[in-house]
Subunit: 344 residues, 2 copies
């Protein structure tokens, strides 16, 4: 257990050190549960305008750090900025999820324009740079991207779906086409994450929200292998680059993901038993309180936090939720949660 | 590996014997992918009318046995007949899922009427009895019920939800109330399954479709413990009663579920790596081809089936899908699948 030193706490954990109490942040911590977020959101125009306007993106990223003093800030952005930058424009309609023109077939893969990626996403790198300048010295700054498979599910369907069936039909019916689309996304992700690290991010997270949709062999081909290529490619350009992988809902397949991809740490969704992860997963872990615990009783929240603390004590562990915090979460419950985590 | 004998193949597997090629059936095998099912469905009135009319329910249960010669028939019914029988009427609107009056609070638990359960569900037992008389002698007849937690998610929300949040708020905010609701459902499930076995079912399956929604401690309290009570209670009344449990999406927690509940076998959803299950799960298994494999290419279907056969060879295993077959599945692909499984 660490007793000091100048490396940021979250990075110590990713390097394999147990820190107590654990460094803590919350997925979607810059979000609608905060009145100050809703105020910026209301004046920012579209959701992508918010992501692409450094003044606004910096502000909403900093808000939860000011309020709760989390140990990490995560760049405010969206996993779909990559397709948007590749020439598949993304729009967010009010009360709906994201919308893109669905891909009509593999021939459209060749029309994706990687050449414009870094120019299109320049405001994101400006945001990262400004954040690093303004964050407290001890706060870790995380960049991120969506994993190729998860991004592909939106590109193929043109929207979020319950079962990711449109992309799964590619995976199970024309896997070579999906390989090609994913390869474009792998290369774009490496470019994108490298630029975030160059702009000042301390580490990056790869969100694979729909990794659970695939069966074992497709998981290996479209999740594990592409993630491995991102990690390897990124480290070839930036030796020592730290990466957290978060393949949601994959259960026991976390073991293979953690060892095969080369990530420094893995996110645990709330469905993972932390006591299992503590022994089965051979990497630092991050997670995994169910965000709906914040909508329950104080007594049951306390019990769940205590159980998590007991299960992961003495392990390299970053406290987090098992999924994004919901808009309904009461701020008082977040305060209660953080006080209890910090007590250790 | 079995070479003969009079016990039905699926029951041999549940008793721990490896049978090759494995006995096979498909979840939702009586369903909309079959034109003969759609014809009966069109003349049967409401969906519950179909479930409660033995003539129709028997016919649709037998249809896939006639067409494909599956090794098991599963009673055609719905997991929500229990709340319907307890005085929470269920309706199915066209193109929508089920609808019930949502439970407004725990006080409604005391108004559930267990006394009418067996009378209300008498047509189901008549269906089971008629099925046993008409099925080929070698075909296993499975009964089933929804697991208390999954049934409770529908009762509390009044419908299916993406995230089971209404029931999770009970789990995390007033767990004693949820305990009480689940206890009513445990007792009703024992009564219901016992009557199915008495009418001629060879074994029963407990479907816990939303088991994945809960975190580790709530999973233990609202999934593992109630399932254990059902298995124990059922066997107290019918010694040797065989039970398959299917907690969908629970990943590595399958190990605990399989050993703690006392079920004879566990269903594997398509997200479980069969090679992992073959070594980690100490019970006969059932599953787990992704139903969307039937919408892919013949080549990729063949490869997926071969991988599954290789992973579970020499294990007590019942071939099945990892979730219900979809209405879009082409019959020719089902035929191809079954021919390949039967080749072993």
């Amino acid at each position: 257990v660490s007793v000091g030193g100048s490396k940021r706490a979250l990075l110590k954990v990713l390097d394999g050190e147990a820190v107590w109490p654990p460094p803590a942040w919350l997925m979607r911590q810059a979000g609608r549960y905060l009145p100050e977020y809703r105020a910026v959101r209301a004046e920012a125009g579209s959701f992508l305008d918010l992501c692409y306007t450094p003044k606004h993106a910096v502000e909403v990223t900093l808000q939860p750090i000011r309020r709760f003093g989390f140990d990490a800030a995560i760049l405010f952005s969206d996993i779909l900025v990559i397709p948007d930058a590749l020439g598949r424009p993304v729009r967010f309609e009010v009360g709906e999820g994201p919308r893109l023109d669905p891909m009509t077939g593999p021939d459209e893969i060749d029309r994706l324009d990687r050449g414009r990626l870094l120019r299109h996403l320049a405001p994101v790198f400006e945001t990262v740079s400004e954040l690093r300048a303004r964050l407290p010295r001890e706060t870790t700054l995380l960049g991120f991207c969506g994993a190729p498979w998860t991004v592909a599910t939106y590109m193929i369907a043109g929207r979020g779906t319950d079962d990711q069936a449109p992309a799964k039909r590619w995976a199970y019916g024309q896997p070579e086409a999906l390989d090609r689309l994913i390869s474009v996304l792998v290369e774009a992700s490496i470019d994108y994450l490298e630029a975030q690290l160059a702009a000042g991010a301390d580490a990056v997270q790869i969100f694979d929200t729909w990794a659970s949709a695939l069966d074992a062999s497709a998981f290996r081909r479209f999740v594990v292998e592409p993630t491995t290529r991102i990690v390897t490619g990124l480290r070839a350009r930036r030796p020592g680059a730290r990466v957290i992988g978060f393949p949601k809902g994959v259960g026991a397949r976390l073991v293979e993901y953690a060892s095969a991809t080369g990530v420094d740490g893995v996110g645990l969704d709330w469905g993972v038993d932390p006591a299992w992860a503590a022994t089965a997963v051979a990497k630092p872990v991050q997670g995994n309180l169910d965000p709906l615990r914040l909508l329950g009783s104080e007594r049951d929240l306390d019990a769940a936090v205590d159980e998590l603390l007991a299960a992961l004590k003495d392990r390299p562990w970053i406290f987090n939720l098992g999924h994004g915090i919901t808009p309904e979460a009461p701020i008082a419950m977040v305060e209660r949660l953080m006080a209890r985590v910090r007590r250790g």
